[in-house]
Symmetry: C2
């Protein structure tokens, strides 16, 4: 397993000459998962303590700012305790007299709270004495949810409005899955300057895999870049799968615009923080990894780091810094079958097996403690203070193929109480399907059952699982059955996973409203009639739902066939998914006002593709508010959706309105259940070579594949 220094061939990028007045220093970290296991008596404060360490490192290294790539919080609705501590930490370490030397060139009001006068960027507010600004996108754990009067908000919005964090990369959320087909992703940068170094931060908060895949395929991820974008050091932050989980469930590494210099990849928990070049591309990818292990998978065992990122002009340099408050974690696998063969273990004897495994765990504990001592000694040698040993995390994966009975793993763990941090789940059993798999070194990291997910205590798991079942059963049994179960399971999932207590209520209200259509309030309707009407309405609703599902399946199938024709369905074609660059967005910044024609854009114009099937799109509400719509259908015409009239509005294009938190989707095309919107999406040509900004193709794909191969054992740990 790599330990974070797995860059093989290329030398690390290095700043040639360092004039401190031009060097932007950044503390880079991600996936802090504050609040993870917060009720665990041993590990409860781990995430908080490490976040504290990170902020202390920022202070120590006198950085210009802290940059995070999502999942600051583990829970979508962090507990009060968790929020309280995070706020306290940010206030303690990021406020202060240190002068902020990074000048903000983009609009400080971009993304500010509606109806309030204070700016979105905290250090632009004269009422806050910010020393070290923190910038972050949201992750999949702390993504915006709900629809209050302010639209979908996330925990970072609360920190942002408190003036303690600068939340970037917010994305227009579709109102529903149907609306998703009408909303693109607009990426507006935070533009910074220090001396003669210009830095653009492009944040894309996490969106669901399916949507991201769709937006990328449809070329609707649009980056608003200054005209002279190549004079900037551009960082792209994203929080998506990098490791492949399925055909539409990861983002390929080679798909970003070449004016990007560094991609900061959140979400994947393995520390691969040393920048890795991407073949055929001008950028590097850094994957800082999580600062706390949220699963006991191989990738989390890699020593965890943050990094000190220095940027001067268009060069950068990255210095990984090991995190000292992270528990040592050792993971190993035993195949009992093989132990029987090689060491003569009697695998019919439970006691015998137990004894063997205990010895094994003891060895791992010793290893972990040695690991801690080594790291500690190294740090002490470098002048750091000595830290007391932390209880280690130990995971022994036991292949029980051929073993008829195993003893209780929880009881097994009790023996190690006080010696390890995770006595309850030190052992995990699995069986190999192919009985005689002999290779122990190729770690078979089968997906663990969710019951093994250590991010939940047993009772939490029980609570969650059961509440869902229970609510389902209950609803089925109660009068609410009249509403049907259409959409209810989604609502229940939201309720359980995102702690969105209003999800069910919202669904019921919506369903009721639907049912009540045509039932006029003041008409006198008899009880029988009413019930009759409701039953009919319900049937109608269910029919529609089935049709919708069929259609969706059909379109999916079609997509698959098409993909098979063009190549393997589960292999994303990089060049079909370029990001769309709007090089005009920065034109209202004085120093970016440049008269040289933006190359890429000009190229795009000359090869302008005819808008596909524009007039036939079922744009229901669009005519009433066409002005707004232009914001989306602007710029390059390769945005295939929504071009219902082909009428570009160039002024709108140059100065896109801040659209955060509005649900433009609703204004635009509202695909009805019967309209074949999905088909149109599928009909998008798989290759739009006229937009191939970067020389994508075999080389980059090969690199990505290679990276994936290396990563195959870590398949389960992205979080």
């Amino acid at each position: 397993m790599s330990d974070g220094s797995d860059r093989d061939s290329l030398p690390p990028p290095i700043i040639q000459e360092a004039d401190p007045n031009n060097v932007i220093k950044i503390l880079l970290a991600t996936d802090n998962h504050i609040g993870y296991l917060e009720r665990d008596p041993i590990r409860g404060q781990d995430s908080v303590n490490t976040f504290r360490e990170i902020l202390q490192l920022a202070v120590k290294h006198d950085v210009d700012f802290v940059l995070l790539a999502g999942d600051l919080f583990h829970e979508n609705k962090p507990s009060r305790d968790c929020l309280y501590r995070t706020i306290a930490l940010l206030r303690e370490y990021t406020m202060g007299d240190k002068p902020v030397q990074i000048e903000l060139l983009s609009d400080p009001d971009e993304g500010k709270a509606d109806g309030f006068s204070f700016p979105a960027i905290n250090y632009e507010d004269p009422n806050f004495n910010v020393g070290i600004p923190v910038f972050s996108i949201h992750g999949n754990h702390d993504d915006p949810q709900g629809a209050g009067s302010e639209g979908a908000l996330c925990a970072l919005d609360v920190l942002s409005v408190s003036g303690l964090l600068n939340y970037m990369g917010k994305i227009d959320l579709p109102m529903s899955d149907a609306d998703a087909s009408t909303t693109g992703i607009a990426v507006r940068p935070v533009l910074l300057r220090k001396g003669n170094t210009h830095l653009g931060l492009y944040g894309i908060g996490n969106v669901k895999d399916q949507r991201m895949h769709f937006e990328l395929r449809s070329n609707r991820v649009r980056m608003f870049m200054p005209r002279n974008k190549d004079d900037w050091f551009n960082i792209l932050l994203l929080h998506q799968n990098r490791v492949k989980h399925g055909p539409q469930e990861s983002v390929p590494e080679g798909m970003f615009d070449d004016s990007i210099r560094l991609v900061v990849w959140g979400h994947e928990h393995d520390c691969r923080i040393v920048p890795e070049p991407v073949a055929g591309k001008n950028y590097y990818i850094t994957q800082p990894g999580s600062s706390v292990a949220t699963s006991l998978a191989d990738g989390e065992a890699i020593e965890k780091h943050v990094a000190l990122l220095k940027i001067e002009g268009k060069e950068f340099q990255m210095e990984p810094i090991p995190l000292r408050t992270v528990r040592p974690f050792v993971i190993e696998q035993v195949v009992l079958n093989e132990v029987a063969d090689e060491e003569g273990l009697d695998i019919t004897d439970q006691m015998e097996i137990s004894k063997y495994l205990k010895a094994k765990v003891n060895i791992l504990i010793d290893q972990a403690n040695e690991l801690w001592d080594e790291r500690n000694a190294k740090a002490v040698a470098e002048g750091e203070e000595e830290l007391p040993r932390m209880l280690p995390l130990i995971r022994l994966k036991v292949d029980t193929t051929g073993v008829s009975e195993m003893s209780n793993p929880i009881r097994f763990g009790q023996e190690f109480q006080g010696r390890i941090a995770n006595p309850r789940d030190v052992l995990v059993f699995h069986r190999s399907k192919k009985a005689a798999n002999k290779s122990t070194k190729v770690a078979i990291d089968e997906p663990e059952l969710s019951i093994d997910d250590p991010s939940l205590s047993v009772s939490e798991k029980l609570a969650k699982v059961r509440v869902a079942t229970l609510v389902n059963e209950y609803l089925a049994a109660q009068e609410l059955q009249l509403l049907g179960e259409v959409g209810m399971s989604d609502a229940i999932q939201m309720f359980v996973e995102k702690d969105d207590t209003h999800a069910i209520q919202t669904h019921v209200a919506k369903a009721l409203k639907e049912l009540m259509k045509g039932v006029h309030a003041n008409e006198e309707v008899g009880e029988d009639e009413l019930e009759d009407m409701l039953v009919k309405a319900k049937e109608q609703q269910e029919r529609e739902y089935i049709e919708m599902t069929k259609e969706s399946k059909a379109s999916k199938a079609k997509g698959k066939n098409k993909a098979t024709a063009d190549g393997p369905a589960d292999d994303l074609s990089d060049d079909s998914m370029m990001m769309d660059v709007d090089a005009g967005a920065g034109s209202d910044f004085e120093e970016l006002e440049s008269d040289e024609p933006p190359k890429k854009k000009a190229a795009a114009r000359t090869t302008r593709a005819p808008a596909k099937a524009p007039a036939k799109a079922p744009v229901k509400k669009a005519p009433a508010r066409r002005g707004k719509k232009a914001v989306v259908s602007d710029s390059d015409d390769e945005i295939i959706e929504i071009n219902d009239d082909g009428d570009d509005d160039d002024e709108e294009e140059e100065r896109p309105k801040p659209t955060k938190r509005t649900n433009r989707a609703a204004v635009l095309s509202q695909p009805t259940k019967k309209a074949p919107t999905k088909k149109k999406v599928v009909a998008v040509p798989a290759k739009q070579s006229q937009l191939t900004f970067a020389p994508a193709g075999r080389s980059s794909r090969a690199a990505a594949t290679k990276a994936r191969e290396k990563m195959v054992v870590d398949d389960d740990e992205s979080d």
Copy 2:
């Protein structure tokens, strides 16, 4: 009904000569209930808008600070949207360059976040540019809950740690009801100075009625006051029932120390903001009332105000300011019986009744609109801007005695959609028990069914009610029945009412641990044996619970008998419930260092009562940590509990340690189930005349009774 100017005899307190350098100006408000009905399409933003108005008034009147008396939030766990907006409003209006002229004399670190360096009082933090500090206690809606690593936190803690609000009056929460008997209430002031005006703010956040009653009876509400306390203008803030709801469910008006000059009473929603004198006392009581109507009861119909409070030396003056963003609310009652008698209404005809009631509601709507117009015209005449009409709140209480059938009140309300803000609950039916009650003027405000509580939408109510039932039933049916239902209903109530998602989990964990006592982990126990043991343990637990309940009932009965012997059980004897004043607490402030012996204290010393049954108290854990204990058993010996050794520690007494957030209760006496602790409590002498600081007695009680009489119609609206 009074309209807020119901002071009868005494002239309003007036500042004699106003030197602005000595005058502290305060914007006084309370019970803002932000987030109330936040999902209501019409009223959803009412609470937020009015809070905005209040902050704007603070800016307009250039006050030194804003003072709130609890229930800033309606929900214990405000929604993200609600928290976001509140933070934004506080940031918008209370941050800024206006110099803060009130000097903090008490410890700025009192109550600060553990392990952090920033002070508890926001304007003492050089990193925040605070213009108008906000001070608040918590109410019953936003009280501290849960037990994270930081102890019980409330929503105000989050605002406080953000630097946007100064949370005061936090109270050591007992770990459990049993622990309540070992914890007193310590009140530590915020001490302020402007010119030669000295102001002490004494906050007591809401505690449950039963506890407050107990603490008062036991004389364990201890106020830490400067030695020269009578040179200060002292304000006491509390958030408890003022109107009597039952024998132990309100705080009498006449029970406060005479060094208090003004009591700010939160919780009661009627606006009685004009200070009312208390007979026989030197202080006034102001009850600002809520800034949003959270029930459609008479008291909420009184025009809502905040006040501009000016203090100079020991004098004050209060100027009520009507709130303009509050919906006009008109409430009336009809007794159909009487209408039948007097106007010949045919009460056997549903249609006829409906017609009558509709006409009635139309009249009320007109009244409400006139009310709005009048208030608006008055404000405009005073130079304010005109506001567009708001839809009014209308409530018609219908006494249906003698009427056999009524039509659906929800359908009735639909006719008024678009004309009133509460079409769903404009009508409420009730039946008079005494059939022939003819007096319409004595409003019979029977407690409305919770289903009529407009603070919840219908579906919210359904959700809450049903989830509780459902969880109960589910638990009963599942294997969790092994745990018994002991204590489970409390946990469920916490879950439902306070949104404490961990309440059930915590209870289950505790119960399990209890059950597992004696089951040794490594012993080999057969399945049958285990079950057997669990069943036995459960039975044991239930037996204990029953015993406990019996005992508690017995002690309650005993208490009642005793009360009956001394006087009516449901009449609190004021002088048995004095607050305990510790006049030494402020001695570490230079300007308070005074050598004159504190009179009250000296008096208390000379009449020192012998400690009651000290050695016999079942103090289980005390010996190990006696030093801490002394913090509680310090000062005046009239604190009857816990004096297990009678050994006072005077140094501790003079400089009480900040004990916020520690659960001292756990350190002290842990009453076991079998120890007759409760009896001891009951045995406290009902009168401790030697501690009668204030000349309490008939006069003040009479005044309180009079006030109560006046209030009888508002009996249900305190919230």
